[in-house]
Each structure stands twice: as C-alpha cells, then as structure tokens.
Amino acid sequence: MAAVCPACVAMPDIEDIDTGPSLQFSVPTIHCAACIGKIERGLRGVAGVQSARVNMSLKRLTVKGPVDPAKIESKLTDLGFEVYPLDLEALNSARDMIGRSLLMRMAVAGFAMMNVMLLSVAVWSGATDATRDLFHLISAAIALPVVGYSGQPFFQNAWAALRVRRLNMDVPISLAILLAAGMSLFETLNGGSHAYFDAALSLTFFLLIGRYMDHRTRSAARSAAKELTALEVFNAQRVVGRDIQTVPVADLCVGDILSVPTGARVAVDGVLLSPAALMDRSFLTGESATMDVVQNAQLQAGEINVGAALTMQATAVGEDTSLRRMAQMVETAENGRNSYTALADRAAQIYAPAVHLLALLAFVGWALATGDVRHALNVAIAVLIITCPCALGLAVPAVSTAAISRLFAMGYLVKHATALERLAEVTRIVFDKTGTLSEPCIDVPTEMNPEARAVAKALAQTSNHPMSRLLVAALGDTKAAIVEGITETAGQGVSGKWQGQTVRLGRGVWLGASFVGLGLKIGTADAQTFDATEAPRKGATAAVEMLTLPAEIVTGDAERPAQAFAASLGLPVTANVRADEKLQRLQAMSEQSDKVLMVGDGLNDTAALAAAHASMAPASALDASRSASDIVILTESFAELPLVLKIAKLGSRLSKQNFAIAAVYNCIAIPIALAGLATPLAAALAMSASSITVLLNSQRIRYVS
C-alpha cells in the first residue's frame, strides 16, 4: 500500500494508538500506595505510554500504548522495582470468568435473601391467613428463580459426585436447598403456616460467600504460578549456515546445530561441538562446582552454560530428552498424592449419610406415629435444613482461604488444594542443599588491599556473568576504582587499564595462574584468587534453628562441600545421592510412617518433591520442580518457614474446631427438629449463628505469630 499524502502516512499510527497493544509486567515488589503512585507517575513521562495501571492484588502492571517494552523495563529498574515482562498468551485471558459468575450469583442470592427475610419477619411477628399466604407467595416468586440461578454451582458439583456414586458436601447442601424450596412451595399453595424460603436463600448466600472467597485466593495463587511459567524461556538459538534463528524448543529436530549463549540453559540433549565449555549442572545433579567439559561431551537439557558461548548438536529432542523422562518419573510419583482425601470430603462422607438417615427415620417415625404424611415430611425436611450444612460447608474453606491469603502475603504460594492439610501432618523435613538451603557466594580474601578491591569491583560491575555479579555483591559498598577501556572476553574474563597498568579479572587459566577459579591480576603482579563457596540462603540459619521437627540434608553434591555446609547449619547430611536414590530414600521414610516435607529446587529433586507428603520449591527452581511442589516460595528468605508450618498446623486445628462448633449446634437443633418443634425462625437463627461463629473462628489464623 503506497501512501499518497502525508495524512495517510500518519493514519496507521493513529489506529495503532487507538487499539494500543497492552503490555503486562510482573512487578513483585509492589506493596503500598506509594509504589502505585511512583510507578504510574513515572511511566506517564515515557513516550508512547497512554495509560499505565498497577494491579496491586496481582502485583502486575498493564501498560497501554505503542511503546518499547525495554524502555518500560529500564524506567522501572531506575525507579527501584524488579520487573519481568509477561507473555500475554501464557497468561491467556486476564479475566476471571468463574469468579465473576460466582460473584454475580452471590449478589443475586443476597438481594433475594434480604427481601424474603423482610417478608418473613412479618410472618414471624404474627401475620396470619390471607396476609401470610400473600407474603409466602411473593417470597416464592422471588426465591424459586433465584435458587435455580444461584444454586447451580452446588447442584453441578453434587450431580458430578452422585454420577460416580460418591457423596460430597454438596449433596446434602443441594438436597437441603431443593427440598426446602419445594416443600415451602407446596405449603404456600396449600395455605400452610411454615415456609422455609428464607432458609433456602440464606443457605445459598452464605455458602456462595465461602465459594467465592475460596476461588478468589486460589485464582490469585494460580495467576502467580502462571506468571512464573511465563518467565520461563521456551526458545532456542538454531544455527542455520551463518545465521542464528530463534525458534521454539518444540520445533527443534535431532541433528540441529544450536548456539547456547553465556548464562543460557541448554534446551535439549546433545553433544558439544565447541572445543571446550564450562557447565553448571547444579540443577540436574546438585553438584555445586562447575564442570569443565571438552568437545564431544554429552550435554543434558537443563544444564547452564557459564563459560563462553558454545555450539552443540541436538541428539534427543522433545519426549526423549532426559528432562522429559524425569517429568514422567514425577507423574508416576504424583499418583500417590492424588489419593489423599481432603478433610472436608472425609467429614462429608460421615455427615451426609448420617443426616439423610436421620431425616428418613424422622419421616418414617412421624408417619407411623401420627399417620400424617405431610407433617412427617415437614419434620424430615426441617431436620435436613436445621443440621447446619452451612457451617459444615464453610468449616474448611473459611480457614484455608484465610490461611492461603496470609501465606500469599508472606510470599508463599500455595498451589495445591490439600497442601495445607498435608503440611500440617508433616513429621520430618528433608532439604536439598544446592540452590535451596545454600546459595553460591564468593569469598574476598581478607588480606586483599583496598585498591585491589576497588579495581575488582570496577571490572566486575561491567560484566553480566553470574560470577561477576556475585563478586559485586561480596564486595558490598567498596567504592569502584576508575578503570578505562574495559573489554570482556566471553567466557574468560574482563580486562582494562588502571593507572597505566593492565588489570584483568577472570578465569585462572586466562590470567596465566595455577588456580582454576576466579582471579584478579594487576599489572605484572601475581594473580590473586577469589574462592567460590556457598553461603546459607538468607534466613536459612534462623529457620533451621527454629524448626521443632527433625530435619536433614540430602544432596547430590560431593562429600566435602556437603559436610562443610551441613556443619555450619548443624544438620545431618547425606552426600552423593542421585535423583532416583533421593526418591527411594523418601519412600523408605514414608514406609517407616514418617510424613516428609521435601524442600528442593533441582531437577534431581523433582521426583522426591512429587513423592513427598508435602513439598516446597523456591521460585528460582526449575519449572518441573515448581510444578511438582505444593508450595512455591516467592521470597528470597527462608526465615518464615517455621511460621508457615505453624499456620498449617493451626489451620487444620481450626477446621476441626469448626466441625466441632457445627456439631454442638446440631446437638441442640436436631432434637428440636425431631420433636417437630422447629420453625422457620429457629432454622434461620441456627443457620446464621453457626455460620457466623465458624467464619469468626477461622479469622483467628490471621493473628498467629
């Protein structure tokens, strides 16, 4: 399309602006109003930004307008926020349709409940005859369509359970709602004195509140989990002739030549074509030391290239890679976990048959005793309504919602529905070492003089290599020297000019020294070495001290570094453990009726994570490990681990207390209902009082410390 006038040239731009593509970013450190103001005001100045809006609940930023994502990232980094671009496709639609429909059903039920309650109060205060019948008729006209609309989530769940011949909590709930509505309609049409429309509606309303809160916390956790996946890179660099193409990992074929830049993860299994390379295998094996490999060496998917950019040839792709084989091992191990029955389902399996039997007995008993079938049916239905399915339905969701949202605020993402219940039962903790309890760090020798430190900092600052970044962190607030003409030799080191001398920071071999690790060489003086060691992760020491459960470290690392590290934390350790041995070890522990919490991050932990009774992985873990774990730790620090265990324990205790509260109400209400003395007013009082007590009791989890 050729432009014929200047105005036409401008046209497409205007259209672009109108429909402006929206960009999504994850900004995990947003936590207050000042952050919102700072980000939104700051981005207003960036060219091309039409609107920037922060969603604090999801810790996400949406930017509209034709703007370069890199500009926004650098602006936010300047403002002091961590920022990660998100793939809109991976997040698929941002709208939460299920939550919205639950909210709508809840609002409609609430509206109907209030209006029917208003009419019911008049009846309870003594309206009789024609007035009472009129009020009942109006109530029926409001309640029946609303029950049909708002009750659907319960009816669907109940039907799904009944179809496979099982009972869940939704079966007695649906039955109570439907029978209450049906019986009340019958009574209304026959001029009866009791109608339970308000009970049917308040049951629906209270339970929908529980459902909505439950969905809300879960969808927050789900969206954070999706963000983590969206951060993962699924592309590889394929070498075709002299060009390098970026292609999705799924499109790679055996025999493809791939280029792996410094710091990138190997996407498929293959052999090394470059003469030599330096690989970090800690994710695969747990070894903390980097591996030197030479041409024709086998590379496995998941290794990280920490040396110069390398080329390799793919030998296995897709399902055949060792990464996928590991994932299959996980699926097998996970089957055990799916057989865990949630507390609420266990309660329903006792409660539902008991209540149904009781109602049946009431019906048969009254029918035989009086011969009045209509009255007998009324008593039976009153029993069903008054046995507080409401409090029982809320007992677990109210607690887990409060607990999950508290944990989310602390940076612990609860992914699995029964994770908290399983975590509460844990009797033993197994930690992985590399990347979980420990993080790599660099020792700056104490005898190194201030000038050398300043030069090292100046050189390290310019490089993106992981070792350089660790060195910058280790040097802390040392002021960098003025070094000129800094150049980086990929995979070897950085060099520059300082006060007329050549200064170099890099691998020992490159410096001409005898050591292999990182070193600094100033002028012609001897190279000085920096030791790469491991430090406990932030908060790990404190967390381990606070733990009341027996804990141990099981690692794939070599004996010596493992022993040294474990001694610093005061934990027993087993070194040189392969992935399948980790799994066997966990299985052996569970045979001794130990319920194990596994905390790990590497691919070698994945099977163990899936097999453990409960599991956690840090956010830095591999995608496979994160999906195998129940809880993902989003914060850097492990300090709050003991508190998490405490919250899980209290959560399961509060759920059981809630069941006990509901049982106490039942002990009072059931005899009244069986005696045929229950009125709609009594039912309304029992239901509201028990539901509110349960909700209030659940809130106590917010104050544990």
């Binding site: 919102i36 969603n55 609940s57 007035t131």
Partner: protein, 45 residues
C-alpha cells in the same frame, strides 16, 4: 393493610435498583484489585 400494595412493590423496586447497581460494578471490573483500590485513596493525584 392496603398500604402493603404500595410498599411491597416499592421495597422490591429499591432492592432491584441496588442489584442492578451491583451488577454494573461487576461488569466494569471494579472488584479486580481490591488491595490496590484500598491504597489508591491515599494517593494525592
């Protein structure tokens, strides 16, 4: 008692207005970021 003929429709009508207002708030994304909305009141601009 004839006053009921007026009062009952009026109370239902008022309730319906409230319900419609709520449906409007749901449709216009007002419950998507409750924490953010609570904080925004503290912003000056």
């Amino acid at each position: 008692m004839n006053v009921l003929v007026v009062l009952i429709p009026v109370s239902l009508l008022l309730g319906c207005i409230g319900l419609l207002a709520f449906i409007w708030t749901v449709q216009s994304d007002q419950y998507d970021d409750d924490q953010g909305n609570a904080s925004r009141i503290l912003l000056d601009d």
